[in-house]
C-alpha cells in the first residue's frame, strides 16, 4: 500500500468517525489544511526521484479531491441529523390559545350604514349630512307640515330651548341639499334622528337613511325600481316589495313599503314623489322638475341581521352584545 493509499484510508476512517461539524472541520484541516497530510506529501515531491514525482503528485491530488467529497458528504449527513435533533427539541403546546390582539368591532348600525352607502354609491348617489338640532322650518315647515296640524303628531318631537327641535327624521337634509341646487341630482343622507318615545321597539334616538332624486323625468316607477333593488341588496335576492298608499306631508303620492319576511310583510319605510310645495320651498320649479324621496329606519335591519331582540340593547354599549356580533 502506498503512502497516499494509507493516507486515504486514514482520512476515510477519521471522517466517518467525526461526530460533529466541529470535529469534521478539524479532520479536514488535518488532511487538507495548509499543514495537513496531503500538503506534506505534495511538499515532499521534490525529494522523490524524478520518475515518481508525476504519479505521486497525481495520486495526492486525486486523494485530495476524494477527501474533499467525503467531507462534504459527511457534513451534509451531520447537518441533516442536527436539524432533525433541533426539530425534535422545539416542541410547543400548540393547544395553548393564540395571542391575537383584542377583538375590535364596529357597531351593527355602522356596518349596516356602510352597506347602504356602498349600495347607493354604486348607483351614483352622493352622500349628504346635516345637523341633528334643526330649525322648525327645515324639519317641518319646508317639508309642508302645516302649523298646528295633526300631521305633526305622528312625529313625537323633542323640542330644544330656543325654538329648534331635535330632527325627527333625516328629511331636513333633503331641504338643505335641494336648496340652491339645480337638478338633476341624487343623494342619500344617513343619520341619527330623535323621537319622544321609548319601549322595546322604539328608542328616543335611532337611525334613518334618506334618499332622493330630482330631475325632469324620474317617476314613481323609478322609485319602485330603486327600492326593490335596494331591498334585494339588503335582504336577499328573492325579496319582494309591497307599496301601500300612505300620507306624508312632504310627498305626494306617498306610500309605505313592506318587504317580504318569513312568509309575511315587514314594514320598512316611507316614500313618494316629492310634494310640489317642498320643491318650491327649495327654489325648484315643480313645473319643470320632479323627483322622489324615501326614508327608512336602519336599526331594525341591523337588529334582524344580527338577531338582536330588543332595540334598546343596541344603544346600551354592552360589550357582551357588541363583541358577539
Amino acid at each position: 500500500m502506498s503512502q497516499v493509499e494509507r493516507l486515504e484510508a486514514e482520512a476515510r476512517e477519521a471522517i466517518d468517525n467525526a461526530g460533529t461539524r466541529e470535529e469534521l472541520v478539524q479532520v479536514r484541516a488535518r488532511f487538507l489544511g495548509r499543514k495537513g497530510s496531503v500538503a506534506a506529501i505534495l511538499r515532499g515531491i521534490g525529494e522523490l526521484p524524478a520518475a515518481e514525482r508525476g504519479p505521486v503528485g497525481a495520486a495526492a491530488n486525486e486523494a485530495k479531491q476524494k477527501i474533499e467529497s467525503w467531507v462534504a458528504e459527511r457534513r451534509a449527513a451531520l447537518e441533516a441529523s442536527g436539524r432533525a435533533a433541533d426539530l425534535a427539541e422545539h416542541r410547543l403546546d400548540v393547544t395553548l390559545p393564540g395571542a391575537a390582539p383584542p377583538p375590535g368591532r364596529l357597531h351593527p348600525v355602522t356596518r349596516v350604514f356602510r352597506d347602504v352607502i356602498a349600495f347607493f354609491a354604486s348607483m351614483g348617489f352622493a352622500v349628504q349630512d346635516g345637523p341633528e338640532v334643526e330649525t322648525d322650518w327645515n324639519n317641518f315647515g319646508a317639508l309642508n307640515f302645516p302649523d298646528d296640524h295633526p300631521a305633526r303628531d305622528i312625529q313625537d318631537t323633542f323640542f330644544v330651548e330656543g325654538g329648534t327641535v331635535l330632527r325627527t327624521h333625516t328629511s331636513p337634509v333633503q331641504i338643505r341639499t335641494m336648496t340652491g341646487r339645480t337638478p338633476p341630482f341624487r343623494f342619500i343622507a344617513p343619520g341619527r334622528v330623535y323621537r319622544h318615545d321609548s319601549d322595546a321597539t322604539h328608542t328616543p334616538m335611532f337611525h334613518q337613511i334618506e334618499g332622493f332624486m330630482v330631475d325632469d323625468r324620474t317617476t314613481l316607477g323609478d322609485l319602485k325600481g330603486i327600492l326593490h333593488a335596494f331591498a334585494r341588496h339588503m335582504f336577499g335576492p328573492d325579496t319582494e316589495l309591497r307599496f301601500r298608499g300612505h300620507y306624508f306631508p312632504f310627498t305626494e303620492p306617498s306610500a309605505e313599503m313592506d318587504f317580504s319576511y318569513r312568509g309575511g310583510w315587514m314594514e320598512w319605510g316611507g316614500c313618494g314623489m316629492i310634494h310640489p310645495e317642498v320643491l318650491r320651498n327649495c327654489g325648484i320649479d315643480p313645473e319643470r322638475h320632479q323627483g322622489w324621496a324615501f326614508g327608512m329606519g336602519i336599526d331594525r335591519t341591523a337588529m334582524d341581521r344580527f338577531g338582536v331582540p330588543d332595540l334598546r340593547l343596541m344603544f346600551e354599549g354592552d360589550v357582551r352584545l357588541l363583541e358577539q356580533i
Partner: protein
C-alpha cells in the same frame, strides 16, 4: 279606528273574502293594524255545498244529504233540520271537528244510516240561540273555505290606522265610501229624518256664534221627554266593538251617530241650560269650567267655549261640562252638531291633554254638509230608543266657512309623467270618479269637483295621489332611472368618522352608540371650570326624564357610564369608543348649536396582571395604552400628533399627573389621560380607566402628515444601542427630541426600547435605552463616522441631562 265588518256590511256590500278586503284597503292607504275575530272558535268548520238532499229511508223528519266540502267526494250527512235543501251553502262540521260547545264530532249511525259529520245551526256554531233550522250561508262562499270567513261580517273587527289627512275615513260612511271606491256597490245610508211633534225647537233655544272663525256652523235639535236608561244590547255591542264605552241611551246615540257619520255630537240636559240660549265664544281670561270628568279647567282666550246665557257649558269639540250633562233625571235634550275650527280644537285638546273621539275628528275636519244630517239622525234615534219627542225644526247658526277648493284641474298627461304609468284620460277620469270626484273635461284638462268631505284635496298632486291610490301602487311598473353619470361626493365629516372607526377597531376597540342625552350636572361631575365652553349645553324643553334633559357637549360622560354599566356586569379590561357629534349652544348657523364631530375612547384596567394573555407578564400603565391608541388613530387618519403636558391646563376630569393635551400642528385637538379618582368615584367606576377625546372636526384644517415613498437606501444601516441613566423626573420626550437634534442627518431611526428603575440604578434615577439607526443614501457609513455621531449624542446627554452611560 275599529270597524265591525257586520256593521259595515249594512252600509255597503263587502267582498266575500275578508283577506281581499283587508289587502285592497291596506294597499290603498287605509292600513289594517289588527284583525280581531270576535266570534266563537270555528276552526275546522267549513263551507259545504248540499249537492243532494233526499228523505232518510228510516225516518220521516230526517233528511239524507250529500255535502261537498271540497274533499274527494261528497260526504253523507244525516240532517234533522226542516229547512235543509239541495243547492244550499251551509256550515259543515266534518268528523273530528270540535264544536264551540266543546263537543267533538264522531262518526254516528242515525237510524241505521251512517252520518259523517253535521250541518250546523247558529246555536251549534255559537252564533246565537237560533236552533229552528240550519244556518244557510248567504252570498256564494267558496266550498271548503273556513266558515268563519264566510261569516266574517258577523264576527271580524278591523282596527284601521288612519292617516292624519283623512278625517273623513273616521266613520262608517267614510269606510263605506272607501270600500265602494275599490269594490263598487251602493252605499245604504240609514234613515235620518226624525218624526217631529210639539213646539218648534226655536221656541226652546236660540244660537249665537260670537266667534265666527272658531265655529263655521252650529246646528241644534231639541228632543223632549226622553227616558234616560241603558241602551239596547245591539247598540251597546256596536259601541263596544268600536272601543266606545256605553253610558246611557241618549249619550250612546250621540256616539253611535258620530261613528256612523263622523260628526261628533254633544247632548246637553236642556233643563239645566240658563236663558234658552247657546253662545259660541272665546273663553274669557281667567274663566273656569268643570268638565264631564269632574276636573276644573282653567281656560285661555284661544279656547272655544259653548256657553248659555250665563256661563260656559262645554269646551267646544273637546269635552262637555259637568253641570249640563245628561243624567238619569234629564227630560229634555239639546243635541249639538257643529263644525269647529280644527286648529282651535287641536290647541285646546293638546294643552289640556284631552284627546277624545270628538277632538280627533274635529282636528281633522268634519264634513260641513253632514252636520245637520247627524243632528237629524240623533234626534230620530232618541225618539226611537229613548221615547223622546223631536221638536220640529233645527236651530242653526253659521260662522265663517273653512276654505274648500271646489275644483281642481289635472292635465292627464301629468299622471303618466309622474307615476310612470300608461293611463289615458278616460282611465284617469274613471279612477277619480271612483274616488268620489265629479269630473269633466275642459280643453284637454280634467276638472275634478272635490267632495265637501275632502278638504285635503287642493291641487293637482292631490288628484294624482288619488289616481295612484285607487289604481294601486302595485300596478305601477317598476323601472330604473336613466340619469347622467356624476362623481359621488362623500362629505368629509362622514369620511373622517369612518376612518376613525377603522383606525380604532384595528386597535381592538369596540364601537358603541349611546344616546346623546345628558343630565344637567355632568359639567359639575366632570369638574369643568366656570368658563369652559362645554358648559354651554343645549337644553331640551320636553325631556323624557330629567337625566336626559340636555345634549352632551363631550362624549366622555357617556363612555364613563357605558364603562360603569359594563363593569357592573363583570366585564373586564374594556376597550370602547364612540364617534358622534357634541352640541355647543349657539355655535352653529341660524342660532343652531355647533355640532363638532368627536371621537372618544375608554380603556379600563383588567383585573389580571397579564392583561388576559397567558404569556405576558408586565402591565403597561393605562395612560400609555390610551395615548398609543389615540396617536396611532390620528396617524392612521393622516396626522402627526403631539402630546405635551405643558400645553394648556389638564382636563379637570383627568389625573393631573397622568394626562396631557393632544395636538396636531399648532392646535390642541383633544386630550388623553387616566381618569381622575374623584371623577371615577362620581361615575361609579372602581377599576382604573383612561380616556381620550379628539375633535375630529378640528382636523379638517389641520396639516396632514406627508404620506409618500421616500426611496429605500441600498446602503447598510448601522444600529447602536445606548442605555443612559438620568434623573427619573427628566421627560423622555425631551431626551428623544434632543437626540434627534444632535445625532445628525444620518439618523434614520430612533426608538426608546427600555425604561428601567431598580436594582443597579441609583435611587431617583432611571435607565433609558435607545436604539439609534444610521444610514446614508449614497454610501456605507464608516465605523469611525458612526462612533463620532454616537459620541456626540452621549456628550449631549451628559451635558443637558446629566446622563451617564450604563454598561
Amino acid at each position: 279606528m275599529k270597524v265591525a265588518l257586520g256593521w259595515l256590511s249594512e252600509w255597503i256590500p263587502l267582498p266575500d273574502s275578508t283577506d281581499a278586503l283587508v289587502e285592497r284597503l291596506t294597499l290603498g292607504g287605509l292600513e289594517v293594524e289588527e284583525r280581531i275575530e270576535t266570534g266563537p272558535d270555528l276552526e275546522g268548520i267549513v263551507v259545504g255545498h248540499v249537492v243532494e238532499c233526499g228523505p232518510h229511508p228510516n225516518a220521516d223528519r230526517l233528511s239524507l244529504c250529500r255535502v261537498d266540502a271540497g274533499g274527494e267526494e261528497p260526504a253523507q250527512v244525516v240532517c234533522g233540520a226542516p229547512n235543509v235543501a239541495q243547492g244550499q251553502k251551509i256550515a259543515y262540521a266534518p268528523v273530528g271537528t270540535r264544536l264551540p260547545d266543546g263537543k267533538k264530532l264522531k262518526k254516528a249511525k242515525i237510524r241505521d244510516v251512517v252520518s259523517f259529520g253535521m250541518i250546523c245551526s247558529e246555536r251549534e256554531l255559537g252564533l246565537s240561540e237560533e236552533h229552528e233550522g240550519i244556518l244557510v250561508l248567504e252570498g256564494d262562499p267558496p266550498v271548503g273555505a273556513p266558515v268563519s270567513e264566510a261569516l266574517a261580517g258577523a264576527d271580524t273587527v278591523l282596527d284601521f290606522e288612519l292617516t292624519p289627512n283623512r278625517g273623513d275615513w273616521a266613520s262608517m260612511l267614510g269606510m263605506a265610501r272607501e270600500v265602494r271606491s275599490h269594490f263598487g256597490g251602493e252605499i245604504r245610508v240609514p234613515p235620518t229624518a226624525p218624526p217631529e211633534e210639539g213646539e218648534p225647537a226655536s221656541a226652546a233655544i236660540a244660537v249665537d256664534i260670537d266667534d265666527p272663525e272658531g265655529c263655521p256652523a252650529y246646528v241644534a235639535r231639541v228632543v223632549r221627554g226622553v227616558q234616560v236608561g241603558p241602551s239596547p244590547d245591539w247598540l251597546q255591542a256596536r259601541l263596544e266593538a268600536a272601543g266606545v264605552r256605553p253610558i246611557n241611551n241618549v249619550v250612546d246615540v250621540t256616539n253611535l251617530v258620530m261613528l256612523e257619520f263622523g260628526q261628533p255630537l254633544h247632548g246637553f240636559d236642556l233643563g239645566t241650560l240658563r236663558g234658552a240660549r247657546i253662545r259660541v265664544r272665546r273663553a274669557a281670561s281667567g274663566e273656569k269650567l268643570v268638565t264631564l270628568d269632574g276636573q276644573s279647567r282653567a281656560l285661555e282666550p284661544d279656547d272655544l267655549v259653548i256657553a248659555d246665557a250665563e256661563r260656559g257649558i262645554a269646551l267646544a269639540g273637546v269635552m262637555g261640562g259637568a253641570e249640563t250633562e245628561v243624567s238619569d233625571a234629564t227630560r229634555d235634550v239639546l243635541i249639538e252638531a257643529a263644525e269647529f275650527h280644527p286648529t282651535r280644537v287641536r290647541r285646546t285638546a293638546r294643552r289640556l291633554g284631552l284627546h277624545s273621539e270628538s277632538s280627533y275628528r274635529f282636528e281633522r275636519g268634519v264634513d260641513p254638509e253632514g252636520v245637520a244630517r247627524a243632528a237629524d239622525r240623533a234626534a230620530r234615534l232618541m225618539a226611537e230608543l229613548a221615547g223622546g219627542r223631536v221638536a220640529p225644526g233645527r236651530v242653526e247658526a253659521r260662522g265663517e266657512p273653512l276654505p274648500h277648493t271646489a275644483e281642481v284641474r289635472l292635465d292627464p298627461v301629468r299622471v303618466d309623467r309622474l307615476l310612470g304609468t300608461d293611463l289615458d284620460a278616460m282611465a284617469v277620469r274613471e279612477l277619480l270618479h271612483r274616488a268620489d270626484f265629479t269630473v269633466h273635461e275642459e280643453g284637454g284638462v280634467l276638472v275634478a269637483g272635490v267632495p265637501s268631505w275632502r278638504r285635503d284635496v287642493t291641487q293637482e298632486a292631490d288628484l294624482i295621489e288619488e289616481v295612484a291610490r285607487i289604481y294601486g301602487f302595485d300596478r305601477i311598473p317598476e323601472t330604473l332611472p336613466v340619469a347622467p353619470v356624476a362623481p359621488v361626493e362623500i362629505p368629509w365629516r362622514l369620511t373622517v368618522a369612518e376612518a376613525a372607526r377603522d383606525a380604532l377597531v384595528a386597535q381592538g376597540l369596540v364601537e358603541c352608540f349611546t344616546f346623546p342625552f345628558a343630565p344637567p350636572d355632568d359639567a359639575d361631575r366632570l369638574g369643568l371650570t366656570a368658563g369652559d365652553p362645554r358648559r354651554g349645553t343645549v337644553r331640551l324643553q320636553n325631556p323624557i326624564v330629567e337625566e336626559h334633559s340636555e345634549l352632551r357637549s363631550t362624549l366622555v360622560p357617556s363612555l364613563l357610564r357605558t364603562a360603569a354599566h359594563n363593569l357592573a356586569r363583570q366585564a373586564d379590561a374594556l376597550r370602547l369608543f364612540e364617534v358622534g357629534p357634541v352640541f355647543l349652544a349657539g355655535g352653529g348657523e341660524a342660532g343652531l348649536p355647533a355640532e363638532p364631530l368627536h371621537v372618544a375612547g375608554i380603556l379600563t384596567q383588567g383585573d389580571r396582571e397579564s392583561g388576559g394573555l397567558w404569556a405576558a407578564h408586565e402591565r403597561i400603565p393605562l395612560f400609555f395604552l390610551v395615548k398609543g391608541v389615540a396617536q396611532r388613530a390620528l396617524f392612521d387618519l393622516g396626522y402627526a400628533s403631539w402630546c405635551r403636558p405643558e400645553e394648556g391646563d389638564p382636563e379637570p376630569y383627568q389625573h393631573p399627573g397622568a394626562s396631557c393635551r393632544l395636538g396636531v400642528g399648532e392646535r390642541v385637538i383633544g386630550s388623553v389621560g387616566e381618569l381622575h379618582p374623584e371623577t371615577a368615584a362620581r361615575f361609579g367606576l372602581e377599576a382604573p380607566c383612561a380616556v381620550f377625546e379628539i375633535d375630529l372636526s378640528a382636523l379638517q384644517d389641520a396639516p396632514r402628515r406627508e404620506i409618500g415613498f421616500a426611496g429605500i437606501s441600498r446602503q447598510p444601516m448601522a444600529r447602536r444601542d445606548l442605555a443612559v441613566v438620568v434623573d427619573a423626573s427628566c421627560p423622555a420626550g425631551e431626551i428623544l427630541e434632543a437626540i434627534r437634534g444632535s445625532a445628525g442627518s444620518e439618523l434614520v431611526g430612533l426608538e426608546l426600547f427600555d425604561r428601567y428603575e431598580g436594582k443597579g440604578v441609583p435611587e431617583g434615577k432611571v435607565s433609558l435605552a435607545f436604539r439609534l439607526a444610521f444610514q446614508r443614501e449614497d454610501r456605507a457609513l464608516k465605523e469611525g463616522e458612526i462612533a463620532k455621531r454616537v459620541d456626540r449624542v452621549v456628550k449631549m446627554l451628559a451635558h443637558r441631562f446629566g446622563g451617564q452611560l450604563r454598561n
